[in-house]
Amino acid sequence: MRKNIKKHNFMSSTEARDAWLMMAPALIVLLVIAVYPIIRTFWLSMHEMMLTDPSSGYPYIGFKNYFNILKDKKAIEAILFTLKFTATTVSFELIIGYAAALIMNKAFRGKGLVRAAILIPWAIPTSVSALMWKFIYNDQYGLFNDVLYRLGVIHSYKAWLSTSGGSFMALVITDVWKTAPYMALLILAGLQMISEDLYEAAKIDGAGVIKRFIYITLPIAKNTVIVALLFRTLDAFRVFDLISVMTGGANRTESIAVYSYKNLMKFLDFGYGSALAVLIFIVVFIISLIYMRFLGNKLTDMEG
């Protein structure tokens, strides 16, 4: 017995060591490309570091950069805008994505083709689709104007990107157009996990379409939906290229990522820019934690 245990321990310890050895390259790469930049950014954020002012010696200033964010009207505006943008786009994407997934989940001819085609908007690089949509909103040649004009919604062509309301709407439409398909595919994966038997059983018990949706589809697909929401919320919160290309932050559409980039690369204020970057990291982290909490509870619910 004893001998066995000892041998077992020995075995597992060498195995563990081998495992660590095997994982070492991957871990080192992760440390270098993921952990180090995060720590470095945090370290930078505690310093006064204007690249154009090397004579300052880049002194350590503790959390001053973070206090400055609270005093910075532009930063607060950017954060509020980003939250508004995230909430709006993610809700639209959820509704549209869910609906599209339900449709695609039905058996019909050309299902494969539709599923592939719906991914096209998502497959186009954001900066390209942003340029495309910018032209669609153009006040002289834009398709958007043309369609609304023919429908009689507007009586003259409008410059949609010249007002803050118009810019916000344009950005939301573009983002939803681009990412709702992604949401739809993720949700579709969840829907396909639901066994047909459940629906049939419910049907026999006399449950209608709506009841079947509420009592079968919603609860079972919930976890997939939450994961999809998590991805999209994080993405939307870090929105950068769409805004950078379409409005350049004009008309009060500057997202926190754009503002942070501006401070880092344009103003070369690495201290303050890093503090903003860390702030984005923290917010994104909190959002993930909240979703994880949801996910965790649901998982235990299901087990219970």
């Binding site: 081998d18 070492a24 790469v29 690249l51 006040d139 002289q140 410059a159 004009a250 008309n251």
Partner: protein
């Protein structure tokens, strides 16, 4: 035995993995050397260059010259000519993407870390003050005296001077021009306007003639182009951004008048979307034949009369108008300067200066103009018969660029520009009153100019 074998195998595997990783790294590096157009990874190619220096039997000094590929081909041609012309210096080119931001970020990364892989850079004129104040640029005053700079357009030399020192050498320039529809003015029997009021009156009469819908067209999206446009209104109304001591004087009465004029053009004369227009969008409308005037960069003279244009052969060019309080018209200058990395050795610097001397000689400037159509900085080139034959536009253009002014110099130009963009854009879209926008702008610039 078995254990040992396992261990050896494990170690071996790990080793292979690490090696293959290293190999990947190595491969990536050699790829970078070939692919010098990739902005952020060109460092290696530079070092490669300096290494070969000692290996070459002739012991040439290698100079690495980095600039954006917008002018890549003609510049390469000129550089090849230079390399063939003498046997002491070898200039290697390191191309960057044609994107002012990428080029800026690449240079900043290198200079801020004291990198010496690049000796000479083609730097956009607006960044001169920022780079000079950071102490990244070598003082060229010791290599060049007035005889060189006196041959150049004054505005370009002013823009290359920081704190009284010549920190850059103008390479080629650019300025905005007021383009107009010759055919419409002829029909109206009107002269080219010299004041903004004259512009608006003419525009009132021109709508409807030959398809004209808009009296004015320019760039007013929240971008650097807006800064260029706005400072022209300011200068041409007798205002300025900084006074001679570098104090911001933004909310002056002249500047309020200037912004009011600009807003009037936005509201009543320009296409509705002008506050979303950068160069491309504004040019599109003019090329469609819908606008009487467009303020644009000099290159539009040829690009505006291409195959996709409906106004080919109908374009005239003139100076920008002036407003109340303005004395003479000024256009905003753009272009690239040649700057030398301050961290390189003195021998490298001397070689760099030698190359720059070649680049700004009247002869090279003429060659460069002929093959690149970039406006030269040497004044005599504009009067050269061969040049005028090939680019007749330069006859009109010279009077425009003579009055060219550089954008306000500030070590914090990026912040100044950003503040101008935001506040002036808000004023033009009517979100904020002009006076308040300028007061806010003044306060903001004062705050970070302290």
């Amino acid at each position: 035995m078995k254990e040992n074998l396992k261990r050896v195998l494990g170690l071996g595997l790990t080793l292979i993995m690490v090696l293959s990783l290293a190999a990947c790294g190595g491969k990536a590096q050699t790829e970078n050397v070939g692919n010098t157009t990739e902005g952020t990874t060109t460092e290696d190619s530079g070092k490669e260059g300096t290494v070969t220096e000692s290996a070459e039997p002739t012991e040439k000094i290698t100079i690495n010259f980095s600039f954006d590929q917008g002018v890549g081909e003609p510049t390469q041609e000129i550089v090849d000519q230079f390399n063939a012309s003498q046997d002491k210096i070898e200039v290697k080119t390191v191309l960057l993407p044609q994107d002012a931001n990428v080029v800026h970020d690449d240079f900043v990364n290198k200079l801020a870390t004291g990198d010496t892989s690049i000796d000479i850079m083609g730097l956009d004129v607006v960044y001169i003050a920022e780079f000079a104040s950071a102490g990244w640029l070598a003082d060229l005053g010791q290599y060049f005296d007035n005889t060189v700079t006196d041959t150049m357009i004054k505005g370009t030399v002013d823009a290359a001077t920081y704190d009284g020192k010549l920190v850059a050498m103008p390479w080629f320039t650019n300025s905005s021009v007021l383009f107009y529809r010759k055919d419409v003015l002829e029909k109206l029997g009107a002269e080219v306007p010299t004041t903004y009021d004259g512009w608006m009156k003419l525009a009132d009469n021109a709508v409807g003639i030959n398809g004209i819908e808009y009296g004015a067209d320019f760039q007013a999206s929240q971008s650097e182009a807006l800064v260029c446009n706005w400072v022209e209104y300011v200068w041409n109304h007798g205002g300025d951004i900084f006074d001679s001591n570098g104090k911001p004087v933004i909310n002056s009465t002249q500047n309020v008048a200037a912004t009011t004029t600009m807003k009037k053009l936005v509201d009543e004369y320009a296409p509705e979307g002008v506050t979303t227009y950068a160069e491309t969008e504004s040019e599109q409308v003019f090329k469609e034949g819908k606008c009487l005037f467009i303020r644009d960069w000099s290159g539009f003279w040829s690009s505006g009369q291409g195959e996709d244009s409906k106004v080919t052969g109908m374009i005239g060019a003139t100076t920008l108008p002036i407003g109340e309080g303005g004395t003479e018209p000024h256009s905003c200058l753009g272009g690239l300067d040649l700057v030398v990395n301050t961290n390189i050795s003195d021998t490298q610097k001397e070689a760099a200066a030698e190359f720059i001397r070649y680049m700004v000689s009247a002869e090279t400037q003429k060659n460069m103009t002929l093959i690149s159509s970039q406006p030269p900085v040497v004044k005599d080139v504009y009067k050269d018969a061969e040049i005028l034959e090939k680019i007749p536009f330069y006859a009109d253009f010279y009077s425009v660029i003579e009055g060219g002014k550089s954008r306000p110099q500030s070590p914090k130009y990026a912040k100044v520009s950003d503040a101008i963009q935001r506040h002036i854009h808000q004023a033009l879209t009517g979100e904020v009153e002009i006076q308040k926008a300028l007061d806010d702008l003044q306060a903001e610039v004062e705050e970070f100019s302290k």
